[in-house]
Each structure stands twice: as structure tokens, then as C-alpha cells.
């Protein structure tokens, strides 16, 4: 019998038809009777004490609903990990665009004028804007030392390694903020009635994060808060934590107005006020032997968290655990910290700290290669983690991964060696130069360390009256294919046709808390729970005598119908249990950081135009081991989409800051790649399987974000012979870098 009929096949996307016909309903497509439109009055200064708020003339203020911090029934905070971020600033503001007041009116055209008519006076307070200013404590803006969180990972001893080393290689690397730039801006609708409490509908990733935040904000019991996800037009982490803020604002307005309120951000508000990828700085100091082996080293990883703690501690955690890359470190000391600045809080974005620390690691490997006199290929080969060896957190690699073999295949399909030789010759002539760059990396799936145990996710599967099956999870669809793949898993487990399985829309009234839709955990962790909950339905039917083992789909349908007619809906629940033998020490930051890692080798081919200094990526090979690929079409789509964002991160997307505020909050001047900008992206999978994931799957959502930046910047160095250690790397940066590196400046040439 074929045991895997549905997983592994590219079945039609569950909600695909509605998406191509325009029938899908996103939050801005929804209208409630009597609905008002809400807007947010925000801080114009990076840090200050609010001294006076004036409602100016020319506005019929009596028509507006106005909410301030005083209207908050419960705690004035957006409850997340900590409770330091206010919902509305009342006395002081700590970053530009911090929310202060909320307005609502039936005519949305009147809101911009009303916002403009409100003037807020501040007593300015000194502000800090960079990691360095925060570290030097020019001003203490958070806690006692501006530090949200630190981690220390120590493996082995560094005693004597610097003396033993043939080479000591140092480098400093940095990455910039990056906007998620989902095409659907953030938005929420809230409605309130005394009996049912507050309901919000919105564009979001994590229904239960919002549920928790609204309970604390409104001082409501769980049953008086309902969160419903609408179709969501992209998220990438950008709709992980900030939607709690918008939901809170819409809820406060709806409670005060006694009418439903819709808040939809426009593009500029979304870009300047909501979260971005954390800017980072990484320092490496590595002891290396003559034959290119890493003996040990120190890594210092620092991220800029913005003005409030929000998710910085967990972003830092993923970043620090990935900082050593897919290499064997006999000894290492990794220090990490997240610091405060007076910018809007930085937050979740695909990769979640790992793209930052892996950029540094992979640039540093090329630097080591150069100093030791080995090729980028050889230096990696000599240091790859092998099965049976331990990572920096002393997690033993138990799967039979062979990174050397993975590298060989990537070199082969990219025609790396031949091209490198050819380019070395061609580059001596001509106004453009070509190069090849490699990135080797890994990405852990699921929450870090004890995270999954704390989450303790619950998944439900329901047998319905018509004999079909419905999956109940809070895991959200926002393009990745959650609905499709979880349906495949349930269908596979029950040996039913894919069409017989449907997904409940995430609605906290209906679905259990299966955890947030983040961290590449949905298919691997939630999928595994769906698999076991689905089996529970069959067991119920079999033990009730209505169904026999080896049943047909028709028999299942009939049995399910009968059972539901007699006893009501059948529901089967499954709760996460940590696999045995998984050990994590939160104090020492040591142990099994992730139940599984995906592994990858990416190779970029670039051309740098020496007239315009623009870089084009000409070819991109992405080879990854991701366990079992459950849906080849969606998996390939995830990888290519992630690489496109990674190319943007490397070469296009630059947030221009001034006093903590993004100055280029438009698609006109914050540039993401278009269809004409991207190379052919060639995707290859290796499938080793994974005992912890549904049908052997690992997480893949974030992985493709990690590799493009170092692969591309390594290729640029290969083309130009000049190192660049900071991204985004725009043509003007390359121009400056080249000018600085040549003994006789070719710039300005007239003097």
C-alpha cells in the first residue's frame, strides 16, 4: 500500500481560488454597519515629556471620538513577554511615532485634518540612536543600563588558544534595519458590546498574542475577548507583535464610541511606525590553525532593539544560537546583547536574528580563507559540523547530515569552479567584474530551547456532521500555505482525500491556542500535532464500532456522519509534549536549542558594473536539506520568495534614519526588488527526514532569508577584490569602498 498519498504532492492551495478571483476578504474589504474610521496621533519627537495637548480650531471636535491613556480600562501596556510598552503614551514618549491619542469619525477623509489640528508640546529629553550611543550610556533610556537582554554561550575553554593559533582573524560586520513590506498594510476592526465583550478582526499572525494583550488592556476575562484573523496579505514577522497594538487601539475606540471602528494604516504610517528587522553589529575574533581549522574564538553579537523590549530578547536568542554557523567550534565564547535606542521597537522579521549573525559568520569565513590562503570552498569544508559533533550550545548533531556532500552538489549545479576561473580572467578587462560567492548555513525550526514546552500548543481536529474533517488551529495563513499543508497532513493521517479536509478560520472562539505562526514551527511542530489529533478521530470511530481498520474514505464519511448524528461533533485534541532526551539549560544557554535544523548551501553569481557601481545577481543556486518536502510547489515558492527578500536585504533596502524616524517610508524611496531585478533562482532540495516533524518535515519558512546576503557580498568581494562588511550595500557604498581601497583615488579626478 502506498503510505504517502497526499504529503509530497502539490495539491491545490486551499484558499487559492478565492485569491485568484479576488473573492478573499482582507480586513479592509470588511464593512460593519455604523462603522467609524480610526486614526492614531503619534509623537513627533524621539524622546520627551508631554506638557500640553491642544485641540486646534476649525475642526468639529464634538463629532470625533477621542481616546487617551485615561480611557484604558485595564493596564496601559501591550502585554507580550514583558509589559514595558505602553498602548498610549501618557507622560513621556520614547520614540518618534509613538501613539499618544486615538481619533474616530464616520468620514475617514476628515481624520488627516483632525490629526494635523492637534498640537502637542514636549519638554525634549536627550535621545540616543545608535548601538554605540546606547552602549556608552550617553543617556539611560531603558532600565539601568539600556540593556534589554544579554546571553553568554561558552563552550570549552579559550585558555591558550590565542597563543596556539597560527592566525588570529578579526572582523566587524553590520546589518541594517529592513522593512517587512507585506503588500497589505496593517489593519484591524473592533466591535464591542457589553454582553459579548470585544471582538477584533484583522490582518495578523498570532491570534492569541492579541487575545492576551486585550485581556490585560481591557481587564476582561478570556471569554470576553475574541480575535478573528481575516485573510492576511503577507506578514513575514511584521504582523507578529504590532497587530496587538492596533487591535488595542481599535478596541479602545470601539468601547468608547459604542460603534465598530476600523483602523487601516496607510503605507507611510505602516513603514515609519511599525516594526522592522533589528539592525546588528557582530565582532569576530577567531583563532585558526595553519591548515585552516578553527581552534576557537570570540563572537560579540549586538542588536538595536529600539525603545521597548517587545521581542528583542527572543530575536537575540535565535541570533546568538546561529552565530557560529554550521561549523565545529572546539571552544567558543559568544556574548550577545540587545540594547535600547529611541527608535520605534524593532521586531520580528523572517529569520529573527539569524540573518544578522549568519551574515557576519559567512563574511568572516571568507576573511579567514583569505588570511589562511585557502579557497572559500576549502575553508568551509575543513570546518563543517559533522554528524556526532556538537554545536556551540553543545547540541549533538544526531542526523546524518553531510555538509561536504551538500557543498559538492551546490558547486556542481552552479558550475562554481569553472566560472570562478573564467571570471578571474575576464575581470582583468572590461568595465564590469563578475564574482562567485558561497554561504553555508543552518536554521533551527520551532521555538528556541524550552520555548515549545512553555507554549504547550494544542491542536484540534473535528469530525463534522457531513462526514468531513476540520482542522482547528490558531496557526494562520498569510501566503506560506498553512491551510494547504495542515490539510494535507490531516488527510494523510486519516487516509482521506484532501478535499474532505477543511480548515477552521483562526478565531479564538473556535480554535485552541496552537501557538504563534512564527519560527518555522507550523509544519513541523503544529503539523505533528495535527497528525496525532487526526488519528484520534479515527480511533474514536473505530472504538465506537462504527468503523473498521483499513477503512475506505466512504466508510469513514458514513461512520463520521452516524457518530455526529448520535453524539454531536467529534473532537480530538493533541497537546505538545517535549520529545524525550531533549535537554535545554536556560541558565547556561546550553543544550538542544532546536528539535531540528535545516541546512543549506547557497551560491550567488554577480556582476558589478564599474560605471554605475550597480550589482546584478545573475544566477542563484539554493540547495537545502529541509527534511521531507510536503508540498514541492509551495516549498519552492517559499524558498524563492525568501531569497528575493534576502536580495533586497543585501542590495536594495535601506532605511534612512533621522533622529530615530524613518525618512523614506514610501515604496517610492524604499526600494524592494521588482520582477525585472531578480535572477533565475534555482532551488534544489535534499530530504533526510526528521523524526520530530509531521511526516519527516522540518521548518523552511525562514531558512532562505539567511543565505543570500553573505553569498552575494562574498561574490562582490570575489569580483572586486575589496571586502564589504556592511549591508545594505548600495551602489554609492561600493563606489566609496572602491575609492577608499585604491591608492590613488579615481573620484573627483580634477584636482
Amino acid at each position: 500500500m502506498n503510505t504517502e498519498r497526499i504529503v509530497g504532492k502539490s495539491v491545490p492551495r486551499k484558499e487559492g481560488r478565492d485569491k485568484v478571483t479576488g473573492e478573499s476578504k482582507y480586513v479592509d474589504d470588511m464593512v460593519l454597519p455604523n462603522m467609524l474610521f480610526g486614526a492614531t496621533v503619534r509623537s513627533q519627537v524621539p524622546r520627551g515629556r508631554i506638557t500640553k495637548i491642544t485641540f486646534g480650531p476649525g475642526i468639529a471636535w464634538e463629532e470625533f471620538v477621542v481616546v487617551s491613556a485615561k480611557d484604558i480600562p485595564g493596564k496601559n501596556c501591550i502585554a507580550l513577554i514583558g509589559e514595558d510598552q505602553p498602548c498610549l503614551a501618557s507622560e513621556v514618549v520614547n520614540h518618534p511615532e509613538e501613539p499618544i491619542l486615538l481619533l474616530a469619525h464616520p468620514d475617514r477623509h476628515l481624520l488627516p485634518q483632525a490629526i494635523a489640528a492637534i498640537s502637542i508640546d514636549y519638554e525634549p529629553l536627550p535621545a540616543i540612536f545608535t548601538i554605540e550611543q546606547s552602549e556608552h550610556r550617553f543617556e539611560i533610556i531603558w532600565g539601568e543600563d539600556n540593556v534589554f537582554k544579554t546571553y553568554l554561550i561558552e563552550k570549552g575553554s579559550l585558555d591558550g588558544i590565542w597563543e596556539k593559533a597560527d592566525y588570529i582573524v578579526e572582523g566587524e560586520y553590520s546589518t541594517g534595519a529592513q522593512e517587512q513590506l507585506y503588500i497589505e498594510n496593517n489593519g484591524m476592526i473592533a466591535a464591542y458590546d457589553e454582553a459579548q465583550g470585544i471582538t477584533v478582526w484583522g490582518s495578523l499572525q498570532c491570534p492569541y498574542y492579541i487575545h492576551k494583550a486585550l485581556m490585560a488592556l481591557c481587564n476582561f476575562p478570556a471569554e470576553k475577548v475574541r480575535v478573528v484573523q481575516m485573510e492576511t496579505g503577507g506578514a513575514f514577522g511584521g504582523k507578529e507583535e504590532y497587530p496587538s497594538m492596533i487591535a488595542a487601539h481599535a478596541a479602545l475606540l470601539a468601547i468608547k464610541a459604542g460603534r465598530p471602528v476600523k483602523i487601516i494604516y496607510d503605507r507611510m504610517e505602516d513603514m515609519v511606525a511599525t516594526t522592522k528587522r533589528h539592525p546588528s553589529r557582530t565582532r569576530h575574533r577567531t583563532a585558526v590553525s595553519r591548515d585552516g581549522k578553527i581552534l576557537g574564538g570570540e563572537i560579540d553579537f549586538t542588536i538595536d532593539g529600539g525603545a521597548y523590549a517587545t521581542l528583542s530578547s527572543v530575536v537575540l536568542s535565535r541570533g546568538v544560537i546561529h552565530a557560529g554557523g554550521p561549523y565545529y567550534w572546539p571552544s567558543v565564547r559568544i556574548r550577545a546583547k540587545a540594547v535600547a535606542t529611541n527608535a520605534p521597537p524593532h521586531g520580528a522579521f523572517r529569520g529573527f536574528g539569524a540573518p544578522q549573525s549568519l551574515f557576519a559568520m559567512e563574511r568572516h569565513m571568507d576573511r579567514i580563507a583569505q588570511i589562511v590562503g585557502l579557497s572559500p570552498v576549502e575553508i568551509r569544508r575543513r570546518n563543517f559540523l559533522q554528524a556526532g559533533q556538537a554545536t556551540t550550545t553543545e547540541q549533538v548533531v544526531r542526523e546524518p547530515i553531510d555538509l561536504g556532500k551538500l557543498l559538492d552538489r551546490a558547486l556542481d549545479v552552479s558550475d562554481y569552479e569553472a566560472k570562478k576561473q573564467r571570471f578571474a580572467k575576464q575581470n582583468q578587462l572590461g568595465a564590469s567584474k563578475k564574482g562567485m560567492g558561497i554561504a553555508a548555513f543552518l536554521h533551527g525550526a520551532g521555538f528556541t530551547g524550552s520555548g515549545e514546552r512553555y507554549l504547550s500548543s494544542v491542536v484540534g481536529v473535528e469530525g463534522c456532521a457531513d462526514g468531513s474533517v476540520r482542522v482547528l488551529v490558531s496557526s494562520t495563513e498569510f501566503g506560506q500555505g498553512t491551510k494547504t499543508v495542515l490539510s494535507q497532513i490531516a488527510a494523510e493521517a486519516l487516509r482521506l482525500p484532501y478535499e474532505n479536509v477543511s480548515m477552521a478560520q483562526p478565531d479564538t472562539l473556535e480554535v485552541p491556542n496552537s501557538g504563534p505562526t512564527v519560527a518555522s514551527r507550523t509544519v513541523m511542530v503544529v503539523g505533528k500535532l495535527v497528525q496525532s489529533a487526526a488519528l484520534g478521530i479515527a480511533q474514536t470511530l473505530i472504538s465506537s464500532g462504527l468503523l473498521r481498520e483499513g477503512y475506505s474514505p466512504d466508510a469513514f464519511r458514513a461512520a463520521c456522519q452516524q457518530h455526529v448524528a448520535k453524539h454531536g461533533a467529534i473532537r480530538s485534541w493533541s497537546r505538545y509534549e517535549a520529545p524525550s532526551g531533549i535537554f535545554w539549560d536556560d541558565q547556561a544557554y546550553r543544550g538542544e536549542a532546536y528539535a531540528a535544523f535545516a541546512w543549506a548551501i547557497y551560491i550567488a553569481e554577480v556582476t558589478v558594473d564599474l560605471t554605475t557601481y550597480s550589482v546584478s545577481v545573475d544566477d542563484f543556486v539554493a540547495l537545502q536539506e529541509v527534511g521531507k518536502v510536503l508540498h514541492p510547489l509551495l516549498a519552492r515558492g517559499q524558498i524563492i520568495g525568501g531569497i528575493a527578500q534576502g536580495i533586497g536585504f543585501s542590495l536594495y533596502e535601506k532605511v534612512v534614519w533621522q533622529n530615530g524616524r524613518m525618512q523614506n517610508g514610501q515604496m517610492t524611496n524604499y526600494i524592494m526588488p521588482t520582477s525585472s531585478d531578480l535572477p533565475p533562482i534555482r532551488v534544489f532540495f535534499e530530504e533526510l527526514g526528521n523524526i520530530h516533524g509531521a511526516y519527516g518535515a522540518k521548518g523552511i519558512g525562514e531558512l532562505p532569508m539567511d543565505g543570500p546576503a553573505p553569498a552575494i557580498v562574498n561574490a562582490i568581494e570575489d569580483a572586486l577584490g575589496v571586502p564589504f562588511d556592511s549591508i545594505p550595500l548600495l551602489p554609492e557604498d561600493i563606489m566609496v569602498g572602491l575609492a577608499a581601497s585604491s591608492p590613488v583615488s579615481s573620484m573627483g579626478g580634477g584636482e
Binding site: S10, P12, R13, E15, G16, R17, D18, K19, V20, T21, G22, E23, S24, K25, Y26, D28, D29, V31, H109, L110, Q113, Q180, L181, Y182, I183, E184, N185, E231, T232, G233, G234, A235, F236, D266, R267, F478, G479, Q480, G481, L633, L634, R636, G637, I640, G641, G642, I643, A644, Q645, Q666, M667, T668, M672, P673, T674, S675, S676, L678, P680, I681
Partner: protein, 164 residues
């Protein structure tokens, strides 16, 4: 009632998806808002409101326009096609089918505009090369797909149309 520019609403006629529609709207109101809020055609999306992203793309007399940049008065008397006008009852347009099969839609927010841009492209160039597809869709931003499966969908639709 006057609008924020002090002007009055006017009655404007236009043909939408083959049907004559009369709407009362401010002349400078955006075609996008009239389609979405007056006519209930929410398939066109607002991504940026400044003509950069193409999510609000519709066809106006066969030309591809960003409906966020078109004052509705300018659309008076024209024929507009939105995503809702492509499928014939239950039969999807060949591009809608190809987008479904090739993975051209992920989160779906750019999809209506992207499909209309592709309709426009194939009307002008029934058998485009890959570069022509990439160029033809470059006014429509997609953050999910990296475009490859969209380009493949358009190529597939062109193939199917030519083989009919």
C-alpha cells in the same frame, strides 16, 4: 454634501465588467475607492496609494492603470475591467487557472492586480519571452513569491491560449 476640496458629488457613469454603473461620487475621488466602497468590488487592493505597487491595477479601456491614481471623473464613460470581471461564472480565466496551478498566488494581496497586468501583457504580446514577462509585470510588486512562479504562470497561460 461637499468633499474635502469643497466640491460637490456628481453622477458619473462608467461600464464596469460589462455593466453600466451610475455612481454619485466626488469628481476627484479615487477610482479605487469608488470601485471598493461604492460598487463593492473589493478585489482591487490599496498597497501604497501612490502608484508604486500596482495592487490596485485595473483595465481602463484596455489600458492598465493604477486605480489609486485615477480620479473617478477621468473614468467617466470608460470601460473598466476588475478581477471580478475575469472569470465567466464558474470558469476561471486561463491566467487565474495558471496562477493557481503554478503557485503564482501566495498571500493573494497583489494577485488581482498582478493578473490584470498579465492580461494586459498577453493582450499586447500573446507570446512573450521570459524577459518580456518580467518587464511587463515590473510595475506590480509582490513580496511573497520572488516572482518566479508568477512569471511561470504567465508563460503557461500564454502556452495554453496559443494551443486552443
Amino acid at each position: 454634501m461637499t468633499d474635502f476640496h469643497g466640491r460637490h458629488k456628481a453622477e458619473i457613469s462608467l461600464i464596469v465588467n460589462g455593466e453600466l454603473k451610475k455612481v454619485r461620487a466626488y469628481p476627484m475621488e479615487r477610482l479605487l475607492d469608488v470601485l471598493r466602497f461604492e460598487l463593492g468590488l473589493t478585489g482591487a487592493k490599496e498597497g501604497c496609494g501612490e502608484g508604486e505597487c500596482g495592487s490596485c491595477s485595473v483595465l481602463m479601456n484596455g489600458a492598465l492603470v493604477n486605480s489609486c491614481l485615477v480620479p473617478v471623473l477621468q473614468a467617466a464613460g470608460t470601460s473598466i475591467v476588475t478581477i471580478e470581471g475575469l472569470a465567466k461564472r464558474d470558469t476561471l480565466h486561463v491566467l487565474q487557472e495558471a496562477f493557481l496551478e503554478c503557485g503564482g498566488a501566495q498571500c493573494g494581496i497583489c494577485t488581482p492586480g498582478m493578473i490584470l497586468a498579465a492580461v494586459h501583457l498577453l493582450n499586447a504580446k500573446p507570446q512573450p519571452t521570459v524577459d518580456e514577462i518580467r518587464e511587463g509585470l515590473s510595475g506590480n510588486l509582490c513580496r511573497c513569491t520572488g516572482y518566479a512562479q508568477i512569471v511561470e504562470a504567465v508563460a503557461e497561460a500564454a502556452r495554453r491560449r496559443s494551443s486552443v
